[in-house]
């Protein structure tokens, strides 16, 4: 038995499943201020005191960190930055106490200038004076050499033991200094609160005699053990769209290319599954205006939902990108696409007489019949979503590429299916499918797709290595760890992959994920010969390996059809 729980902004849903059928499902409004209560309530509703001992695992997707950041409920974090030469220092202005100190590293991790102890001490004391407890220290190219960050940490810790220090290279080793700064700052901000949350969940599961391992869902659709999640709080952001994509994936045919449309009240969230793999955004997530290094699904949000307001503009139907309340047929103030669907008999809920009234009112000012008006609204809604889908595919095709093979192999792909979840999905998806010339899938259990997606999610782990045999060192980009390698030009791609595997094992151990490491795949392995004065002096490797991105189960419903 598997349990999936998704605490979204509006709804919390939960499922209990054996991987073939849904044994129990539950959906309720989220208690915004009491996320713990929402989780436990949902958990109790699906277990009902029956299945504790059979539960194999529990996966939770939560907006907790999103809320902490969006509502600025976190403790303030001061920054110590070592940018060195490059972009103007004016570019490093943040809305928090920031100290820029000397010290610079180059792209290969060689020191350009060393940090100055007295500057560090004076930065520390001004941070104390300003009343901060948390400090993030981030250096440009600290992903290539973290000595300066460690040096700053050591000095600050010795002089100012009350300060909590977070180092940039531990948070992300990807290139992009401003994103590393933002991600480290958010990590420092959310760390404490999220850690408390994880402890509370553990405690509550124990009280319910659930001994199965528990996981938190991440933005990239992978899960991380509860016991390690506190190390990566920011990665749990935006797990909602990941959950709904995985849910739709598990309710549609395996291995195909699908668009997932989560049609909500105000917006429609679109994501892509390309040949069975959810599309990951090429750049890290934008978290409340902070560009970060957080890996997440590529999600496009369209400001159109079942409750969008419909008005008439110069005698023409116009869909506004805003919600003024529920649909008219559900007692709301304005006509909406939901009313049009109700009028056309495509949805079951709602008051037909109010839907008729809404369409008649619009028809009277557009010089058409109520039916034509309703059809027009549905058509325009579908058109808006189809345009966004086309744009999404185009954006994917237009993502920058840095290698010849990437440019040569990227074909134009169009979807096999469109999978709709959310209230108005049943009414709109078949029309959208026709416009896209693909299959329409509006699966059963779509209302708990998020919980199902959480239940189906698997642990994922990636390590990316930069190996420099001329320098005789390597670094793991994910956590900034590293070590020496032989200064040999005989180092091969096979050696590089072997080293990456060892690092993946180490990292799995650290995150309590070793048992999930059954097989790994090489994402890429690039080798650069370093030539200085016509002789090869070393090699640089960029290697990335990961656990395969798969879900635990598919519930093929055999319900897809093409009208």
């Amino acid at each position: 038995m598997l349990i999936g729980i998704d605490v979204g902004g509006t709804y919390t849903d939960a499922v209990l499943t054996d991987g073939k059928d849904i044994i129990r499902k539950f959906k309720t409004k989220t208690l915004h201020e009491e996320i713990m209560t929402s989780i436990l309530n949902a958990l109790d509703k699906v277990i009902q005191g029956e299945y504790e001992s059979q539960i194999k695992r529990v996966v939770i997707s939560t907006t907790l960190v999103t809320n902490i950041i969006a509502e600025k409920k976190y403790p303030p974090v001061a920054l110590i930055l070592l940018p060195g030469p490059g972009l103007s220092l004016d570019c490093y202005r943040y809305d928090t106490f920031t100290q820029i100190i000397s010290g610079a590293i180059d792209y290969r991790g060689r020191e350009i200038t060393s940090p100055d102890e007295s500057e560090i001490i004076s930065a520390g004391s001004s941070i104390i004076e300003a009343g901060y407890q948390h400090v993030a220290v981030i250096g440009k190219f600290s992903n290539r050499n973290n000595a300066h960050e460690h040096f700053v940490k050591q000095i600050i810790e010795k002089k100012f033991p009350k300060l909590n220090i977070y180092m940039g290279h531990n948070i992300s080793g990807l290139l992009n200094y401003p994103r590393r700064i933002a991600t480290t700052m958010l990590h420092a901000a959310a760390s404490h609160l999220f850690s408390t949350f994880c402890d509370n969940v553990s405690e509550s599961l124990k009280k319910r005699n659930i001994s199965a391992p528990a996981f938190i869902l991440k933005a990239d659709g992978g899960t991380i053990p509860l016991t390690a999640a506190a190390k990566v709080p920011v990665e749990t952001i935006f797990s909602g769209p990941a959950a709904s994509t995985l849910g739709a994936m598990c309710l549609s045919p395996k291995g195909q290319t699908s668009v997932v449309a989560d049609i909500g009240g105000t917006t429609t969230d679109l994501s892509l599954i390309l040949s069975g793999k959810p599309l990951i955004a090429s750049k890290g997530a934008d978290v409340e205006g902070f560009l970060t290094h957080v890996r997440s699904f590529a999600v496009r949000s369209v400001p159109l939902g079942g409750d969008s307001t419909v008005t008439v503009n110069n005698g023409k139907i116009d869909l506004l990108p805003e919600r003024r309340g529920p649909a008219y047929c559900l007692g709301g103030p304005e006509p909406t696409p939901t009313d049009a669907l109700k009028y056309l008999g495509r949805i079951e809920f709602g008051d037909m007489s109010r839907a008729v009234e809404a369409m008649e009112n619009l028809a009277s000012v557009t010089n058409s019949t109520p039916r034509e008006t309703a059809q027009k609204i549905v058509f325009q809604s579908c058109q808006t979503i189809v345009n966004a889908i086309e744009q999404m595919f185009k954006n994917w095709e237009q993502e920058p590429a840095y290698r010849i093979w990437e440019i040569m192999q990227k074909n134009i792909i169009r979807p096999d299916n469109i999978v709709g979840v959310g209230g108005a999905a049943g009414g709109l998806i078949p029309d959208i499918a026709k416009m896209l010339n693909c299959n329409s899938i509006v699966p059963e259990h779509a209302e708990v797709a998020n919980a199902l997606g959480s239940a189906a999610a698997q642990p994922t782990l990636t390590v990316t290595l930069r190996i420099d045999t001329e320098q005789g060192s390597y670094t793991v980009l994910e956590d900034g760890s590293g070590g020496p390698v032989n200064k040999s030009t005989q180092f091969t791609k096979e050696d590089a992959v072997r080293l990456a595997r060892d690092c993946l094992l180490d990292r799995a151990g650290e995150l309590n994920m070793k048992e999930y490491l059954t097989n790994v795949e090489v994402v890429h392995c690039e080798m650069f010969n370093m030539v200085r004065g016509w002789t090869t002096t070393g090699k640089i490797f960029d290697v990335s390996i990961q656990t395969p991105q798969e879900i635990l189960f598919y519930m093929d419903q055999g319900e897809s059809f093409n009208e």
């Binding site: 972009l87 792209y107 290139l175 401003p178 010969n529």
Partner: protein, 450 residues
């Protein structure tokens, strides 16, 4: 046009292509540049818009070059992508999506001439020229200036536009007596119909920031102002840098950034530059920031010392002398009386010998320009070279962008005559007026069109 405030950028390092494993033009060349510009987060700046490369069409190449025997024999995917990337930037600029753009691509192109028998100076096809001709063909632009800031003479670009009065080509470079390709002297000033539209400034080895900015301020910028082009292209080599292993100049990243700030190119295309660690990461960051109108004052090489960049008095005197000589060429640019020349001959003719250093090919060319008072005249190039031990003789006919009917007819007649008589192994016809590009093989007795 140019409503946008963004700088377009294509970064195409071709991480999977090299001329050979230890050649300067190898996978590693833009690796550290990638590291630097990505770590700086330049792609995230609101001032920068990143584009994806595309492949250039064979037609785009045939519009500029005569590839012998066929385009596919001279051009690899990497070349098509480097040329195509320049076209993406050109389109974005013309669509008003960007205010200027930088194609940070490899392989380079400025040594590729009109006729291509092989690779010269790491170049097979000329990225800037293909872009300029594309802009003229697709958007009807007329006057374009190309400023070649590579340390090597842009002899390919010069060859392509030598008789084109609508393209101003200025190249400053290390003196050809001390560096490949050994050309680019002050007396190379354009053909009879385009006199003064080619200007060359051979700089003494060791010329510094001060020297290059002297020619920029006193020659290039004033000439540009008078020429008043619709677009300025920077053929942006980076090997004037003080650490470049293949040349001996003394230019810095700051110097390059300031040059782009003053020159304000609409489009820059990367050319050479082989100090892949000590120069390229810093120069490219500097150029991108300067083109985006951002503060680049904090960009500097680890060993940068401002005192290294003042100019010695003897070099300064030499440069000042050249600048005044070239200014007087520019002043006299309209002094050639075509009728006087025409009275002697209908054609202007020159012989050229071209060496392809990478491929070891020697080419002999006779170039004949019809002295047409109306359109500048068609070109007829007969060229001979040895490919893989076999002698190959070709005739190339080229009608200019604004070619007149008479020239077009005359060129076509010559093409047909050569096809019928089979005196050449290959015959090519390039008509930019109707955008038609034809070829013929005598051995196979087949004709084709790109």
């Amino acid at each position: 046009m140019n409503k946008s405030n963004q700088t377009g950028l294509i970064f195409f390092p071709a991480f999977d292509w090299a001329i050979s494993p230890t050649h300067p033009e190898r996978e590693e060349r833009l690796l550290y540049t990638r590291d630097q510009i990505f770590e700086e987060g330049l792609m995230d700046l609101p001032e920068i818009k990143e584009y994806k490369p595309r492949l250039a069409d064979f037609r785009d190449i045939a519009r500029t070059h005569f590839c012998v025997p066929h385009i596919k024999d001279q051009v690899l995917e990497a070349h098509l992508i480097a040329a195509g990337s320049s076209l993406v930037i050109a389109d974005a600029l013309m669509a008003g999506e960007i205010k200027n753009g930088f194609a940070l691509v490899r392989p380079p192109g400025h040594h590729a001439m009109k006729v291509v028998h092989g690779n010269r100076g790491f170049c097979n096809i000329n990225n800037e020229a293909i872009m300029v001709d594309y802009l003229r063909s697709k958007y009807g632009l007329r006057k374009i200036a190309i400023i070649d800031t590579d340390v090597h003479h842009g002899d390919g670009t010069q060859d392509i536009y030598y008789h084109d009065p609508n393209v101003l080509f200025i190249s400053f470079h290390q003196d050809g007596r001390t560096l490949f390709p050994g050309s680019g002297f002050t007396n190379e000033t354009g053909g009879p119909t385009a006199f003064g539209r080619t200007l060359n400034i051979p700089l003494p080895p060791g010329t510094t920031d001060e020297g290059i900015h002297y020619i920029l301020d006193n020659l290039i910028l004033p000439v540009l102002k008078e020429f008043n082009p619709e677009l300025i292209i920077n053929s942006a080599g980076q090997d004037n840098h003080y650490t470049d292993p293949l040349a001996n100049m003394n230019f810095s990243a700051q110097g390059y950034a300031r040059l782009n700030e003053k020159l304000k190119p609409d489009i820059a295309v990367l050319e050479g530059g082989y100090a892949i660690e000590t120069a390229l990461p810093y120069i490219n960051t500097g150029i991108i920031l300067a083109m985006a109108g951002m503060d680049y004052s904090n960009v500097r090489e680890p060993d940068y010392d401002q005192r290294m960049f003042t100019l010695s008095p003897d070099r300064k005197a030499k440069i000042e002398e050249m600048v005044s000589e070239l200014l007087s060429v520019w002043e006299r640019r309209d002094s050639i009386d075509l009728e006087v020349l025409r009275a002697k001959s209908e054609f202007s003719q020159r012989q050229k010998t071209i060496y392809y250093d990478t491929d070891g090919i020697m080419e002999h060319q006779t170039e004949k320009l019809k002295l047409c008072p109306e359109c500048g005249g068609y070109l007829s190039i007969s060229s001979q070279a040895v490919h893989h031990g076999l002698q190959c003789k070709v005739l190339c006919l080229s009608v200019p962008f604004h070619g007149c009917h008479t020239c077009k007819e005359a060129a076509w007649e010559k093409y047909e005559m050569a096809v019928n008589r089979k005196t050449y192994d290959y015959v090519y016809f390039q008509d930019r007026v109707s955008d038609t590009y034809k070829g013929f093989s005598s051995e196979k007795n087949t004709a084709w069109e790109e």
